[in-house]
Structures are given as structure tokens and as C-alpha cells.
């Protein structure tokens, strides 16, 4: 990040702090609360996801109207649009099984570590193993679907 704008790193850190504080405040850092949602005992998770998406939606809507390019990178303001193919459904299904088994997703797992939940290291270790396995399988087999 040495060639980046001097405010780039501080901004990423502030964004991460807000993101992590929000995950902890919403109790999403607790797998039990996520499992409560998946078992229809507390629908609060929907508020986290849709209020969160509403805020970013506003940013995606307004940013291109305010400026052509992002101040700290000079990059164009673009929406997060990824190509659709079978992988989105296959990967989403595998992720769904893992999320349903554990109540853990990546951002919430990092936040869970932050609230002192050392037991979550099992999940984080598992995520690295899983990410490594798919990386090994997919490296070299195909360069398609780059993201």
C-alpha cells in the first residue's frame, strides 16, 4: 500500500472498525443468534442485512452523481456486479450448508474473534482450509470466472 494515497489505509481501517462494531452490536458475531434466525426463532438478521444493504445502496446511488472518480484511488464508481454462472449457485449452496451447520460467515467470524470468542478460531481455521482447497482445485484447471 506504499503507493497509495496517505488516507487510503486509515479509511480502510475506519471502515473495518465500523463494520466490525456493527456486526458485534447486532449480535451477528454470535453464532447462536444466527442459528436462532435460521431456525425461525428471531428474525432480526433480516434487519441487519437489509438495513446494511440499504445504506450501501444509497452510497452506490449517490457516489457517481457526486463525483466521477473516487477521491483516494481515482477509480470509477461502479456497482458491485459480478458475472453470473453455475458457480454462484453451487458455491452459494455449499456456503449455505456451512452457514447452517455453524451459524458462522466470514465477516461475523472475524468480529466474533474481536468480542473475545476464541472458540471461533475453529471456524476461521476451517475457512482457510476450505479456501485453500478450492484454490488448489481451481488453480490451473481454469482461468475462467476470474473475480
Amino acid at each position: 500500500m506504499t503507493d497509495r494515497h496517505p488516507l487510503f489505509a486509515p479509511l480502510i481501517l475506519v471502515g473495518g472498525l465500523l463494520f466490525g462494531f456493527g456486526l458485534a452490536y447486532s449480535h451477528m458475531a454470535r453464532p447462536e443468534v444466527v442459528l436462532d434466525f435460521l431456525q425461525f426463532e428471531d428474525f432480526g438478521l433480516l434487519f441487519v442485512m437489509f438495513v446494511g444493504a440499504g445504506v450501501t445502496g444509497l452510497a452506490y446511488l449517490l457516489a457517481p452523481r457526486l463525483s466521477d472518480r473516487a477521491p483516494l484511488t481515482g477509480d470509477r464508481f461502479e456497482r458491485r456486479l459480478k458475472p453470473f454462472d453455475r458457480n454462484v449457485v453451487v458455491g452459494g449452496t455449499i456456503f449455505g450448508v456451512g452457514w447452517g451447520v455453524s451459524g458462522v460467515c466470514p465477516g461475523a467470524a472475524y468480529a466474533s474473534l474481536g468480542v473475545g470468542n476464541v472458540t471461533i478460531l475453529w471456524a476461521i481455521a476451517g475457512m482457510f482450509v476450505g479456501a485453500y482447497l478450492q484454490g488448489r482445485w481451481r488453480s490451473g484447471t481454469s482461468s475462467a470466472g476470474a473475480d
Partner: protein, 161 residues
């Protein structure tokens, strides 16, 4: 097997909605701040692969070399932000009662699935849905429905917690 646990309860929000709405607002704000400054749509699961690029030469990971430093910083921020919550509101450490085997097995599947599926609950769920991306909407509906089915099945099998 508890038949009550697989049915919607009368009270959909036994803990109110304030903590969820405020938390979601802050999560969205974190992603929005980064986007407004940099144009980057930050997701949490790419960190897994970008961090692996420090130790593995696999081409799948090496494509994230350019972004791995800031992704590490973003994740560090998430951990610290949650740490601030723990100190200020929680009054100390909290640990889960969910069994380690569930965390490990679930974690492996989450690691595979989020990377194959191009996003997780933050990338697809927060930024992708915020972008009204059809790919992300399909991704979110897929992992939500599958996760609900899986969690209900695990609970029905009597696994607690």
C-alpha cells in the same frame, strides 16, 4: 426432536429490532465509507484467499496480491471494532457454546462455498444487494434457503448447540 423449534414462533423479534437495525446501519456505513473514498466494494471472504497469497503460490491466490494488504487491514479493523464493542458494551469476552466440530466443519464449507460462489453475506449480501446485482440476489437467496434448511435439519437431529 422438538417440533416447536421448526415452526415460526408467535414473536418474530424476541430481542426487539433496535440492535439489529442499528448494527446493520453501522455495517452498511462501514462498507459505504470505504466505497465513497475508494470505489472499492469490500467483502469479507476474499480476505481468505488474499491472505493465502502470502504463503501459497497458487494462481487462484496470487491474483489478490495487489489487494491483500488492505484486505488484511480491513479484517484487522473488523476484529478491533468488535473488540471496542466487547469492552464498552459487553464488559468482557464472550464465547460461543456451539460445538467446535460444527464450527470447523461449517468453516471448511464456508471457505469453499464463498469463494466458489463469488461472495459471502457481506460481499453478496450487503454490497451486492446494495448494488441491485442479480448475481448477488441469486447468491443470497440460494445460501439463505440452504442455510435455513440445513440449520432446521441439524436442530431436528437434536444437535444442541
Amino acid at each position: 426432536m422438538d417440533p416447536v423449534s421448526v415452526l415460526p414462533v408467535a414473536e418474530p423479534f424476541p430481542n426487539g429490532v433496535a440492535r439489529y437495525a442499528i448494527g446493520g446501519l453501522l455495517v452498511g456505513l462501514g462498507a459505504a465509507v470505504i466505497y465513497l473514498g475508494t470505489g472499492i466494494s469490500a467483502g469479507a471472504s476474499t480476505f481468505l484467499e488474499s491472505t493465502l497469497s502470502y504463503v501459497s503460490g497458487q494462481s487462484r491466490f496470487q491474483r489478490y496480491v495487489a489487494s491483500r494488504d488492505w484486505r488484511l487491514l480491513f479484517t484487522l479493523g473488523i476484529v478491533m471494532g468488535a473488540g471496542v464493542y466487547a469492552v464498552v458494551f459487553q464488559g468482557g469476552a464472550w464465547t460461543t457454546a456451539v460445538s467446535p466440530w460444527r464450527l470447523l466443519l461449517g468453516g471448511v464449507l464456508v471457505g469453499i462455498g464463498t469463494r466458489v460462489g463469488r461472495g459471502c453475506t457481506s460481499g453478496h449480501g450487503i454490497c451486492g444487494v446494495g448494488s441491485a446485482s442479480r448475481t448477488s440476489l441469486v447468491g443470497v437467496v440460494t445460501f439463505l434457503l440452504v442455510a435455513i434448511g440445513t440449520a432446521q435439519l441439524v436442530a431436528a437431529l437434536g444437535v444442541t448447540p
